[in-house]
Amino acid sequence: MKSLTKVFLLLNILILLIGCAAPKDCIKCELPATIIISPIIKFADDTPVLYNADIKVLKYHFSGLIAFRRMSDSSAIRIVFLTEVGLRMMEFSYENGIAINTYCLDAIKRNSTVRFMDSFIEMLLQQSKIRKTCNNNSLNKSSYFCKLKKGYAEVEYTDNIKDKSIVKEGRKNRIEARYSDNANLPDEINVTMKYQTVIHLKKLNNAFK
């Protein structure tokens, strides 16, 4: 019995050590000050941006469009969800870290849907603060442990825009963005959320008149 307890304790310690280890090839270091990581989508001006969205929730599969614009007369970002044929489904306004639903088509009006989209928008547009950092010099990449509104996430990116990617991973959500020609607007975003939801966004160029 005693030997069994010892084995159990040793296993626990081993699991604890593995769990607390730094990611492979990373050297942990403390930051002298808090650093702000940009949101996944950042708006340099008031040019509207369009993404094609592919959403899988459980066995259901939807597609549509998401349009964003930072309004020139305020710091608010407005977001419109619509179908490919142009039917407006939902509208949100995002300001000071909070997304507010301003319109929802009656057929899909449910508190759970609105709350879900609220948290999706916040994931895309929220700034993150870095608490700790660890550098991976061999790949010229940096990994950061970021403090988010709820829990922590890991952010990875390189300064070279062509290879830039941001991965934020919390307990329930994971968001990954890849950038190519624009350091603020990713070409592709992959999001995994609760209820086995997978969202893929793809930037569409020259969509606005």
């Binding site: 599969h61 939807f62 469009l65 490919e84 044929v85 142009g86 319109y103 969509a207 008149k209």
Partner: protein, 211 residues
Amino acid sequence: MKRICCVLIAFFTFSAIAFNQPAGFTPVKSASDFSSKMKDYASKLTCIKSNFVQEKHLQYLDAALESEGKFWYKTPNKVRWEYTKPYKYILVLNNGKLKMISESSKTELDMKGNAIFEQVNNIMIASVSGNILDNKDYGIQVFENTRFYLILMKPTSQAISTLISQMELYVDKNSYSVTKIKMIESGSDYSEISFSNLIINEEFDEGLFTP
């Protein structure tokens, strides 16, 4: 006193007509002539192939989204909208079934179980085929200018009016084909679909409606 009343009634009647009248258009002179020619066009129509440009005006963003593609119609109830720019998307209406194909998904719906879809389907088909004037689900007014007839349609059904507050169909005066559709939503958003390179009654592969 009677004179003043008459003048006031005439003024308000004129104002009401003037406010409903779209800019650059006057009420059609011969409604029966227009109606019979429109019905004649609809009865002879078998199929349409066309390009289209869709402009979606999003008031909330103060921006207009532009997409384009190809359109096919075959009587009595087959329609295919194929968006090619800036995204790929296909919408097919075929004998009461709606099929939507995006780059990554395929969805099929039976419109018989969905009153709104069925009504939208009916109005889409009626709009492009020109078979619209007898539609009892809409209040209809017809105007004209030198190039177009303009059919203004206001839905009378509650189900449709939550989605569309008004539709405007622009009919070419020479060919009687519908060249532009404007759908005004219940807010201030609207979509404009302009057709170009219209080919009327030239057969094409029916497989397009069974993707």
